[in-house]
Amino acid sequence: MSAPATGRSLGLLLCLDCRATVRGVTAARSRCPRCQAHLHERKPHSLVLTTVLVVSAAVLYVPANVLPVMNTRTFFEDEQDTIMSGVLVLLHSGSWPIAMLVFIASIVVPLLKILALGVLLVSAWRRSARHRLQRGALFRMVEFIGRWSMLDIYAISLLATLVQVQSFASVIVGWGAWAFAAVVVLTLLAARTFDERLLWDTPPHD
């Protein structure tokens, strides 16, 4: 099979800002004739930036799950909740669909994202040509599910705002919530700095 005609082989560039297909641009630092955005053949420093972001997210994933995300103070007790114990509270209160939702959005999705981005990065660094279709699909899944992990942050912020009844009960946010939000933002940024096209720049033998 001959090499497929790509933008790179034909001397065409895709402007990521306006999606114009630009012909005849070779020099770096050139701009899109339609929207004047800087043109790049691939996103600059894609692999290095994405690696840094994913590694930072993986490091913060530990405090995000170990530290309490909120403390609930009532007359009778002072209860500390991590993300996982929050899921269990929901499960014991009988709302298992909501518990499943939070479990998937807050525990499964961030872990899956870090692992998936890790796999994609290693294969891109090694310029692997295997399973490219599957890896492309994996990246699109990471992009699609990423934002849903913010769910718990919104739930916690509403609880902390509403539950401030003097001397009866109050909810105080914990540093686990900060670490958790940082994991979500870092993985969202990592999915944006990663250039999918790097998966396909390898020689086309599958």
Binding site: P4, A5, T6, G7, L10, L12, L13, L14, L16, D17, C18, R19, A20, T21, V22, R23, G24, V25, A27, S30, R31, C32, P33, C35, A37, L90, S93, I98, L101, A105, R132, F139, W148, M150, D152, I153, Y154, A155, I156, S157, L158, L159, A160, T161, L162, V163, Q164, V165, Q166, F168, A169, I172, V173, A177, A181, R192, E196, R197, W200, D201
Partner: protein, 216 residues
Amino acid sequence: MPGFASKITGSMKSTAPPLILCPACDLAQRRAAAPARGRAQCARCRAPLQRADDAAIDTAIALAVCALVLLVFSNVYPLVAMHVNGHSRETTLVGAALGLYAQGYDSLAALVFLTTVIAPLVQILTLLYVLLPLWRDRRAFGQNAVLRVLRHVRPWSFMEVFMLGALVALVRLAKFAEISPGIALWSCGLLMLCLSALTSITSTEQLWRWVERSAE
């Protein structure tokens, strides 16, 4: 102009369908007519390609105005109220971010504020700023820069995630307090639908198709 030698392929002069590059794998392909069912896919990596069919600019403007009104409602009226032991407390959309700020989590509060208030607002205002002049066949001052802002802000507009988060919070509270939904909860739900419809008909490709048409 550094781009003096460059051209955009597929301008109105050529008769062949324009050559497009797959944003996910860089494969060059002719843009075929939209398939009868489903979305167009890249021939090599099967990433979805943008549809060639057209949306009406009037629809986009109507949706943006609608979203703006709903966003104002969502921020003016209370989201939920909680009643427990004779005490009552209510919060607005901005209140959720302010609650975090009050507890000393500035960056977390900024993140919540940005993704639930600022990003939807900027998304709606930039669209209106660009689309209203285009509707009258004019171009807004600084249009390209404004469109660039829109492209970077839009992925951070998390209204639908916030709605689900609010649902989780209400389920947790319902055990030990009486909860009454406010007007803003309903308008947030409608805003979520409005914004996703708006986003789906104002893709980058579609916006620039409107821009090019106004230039003829």
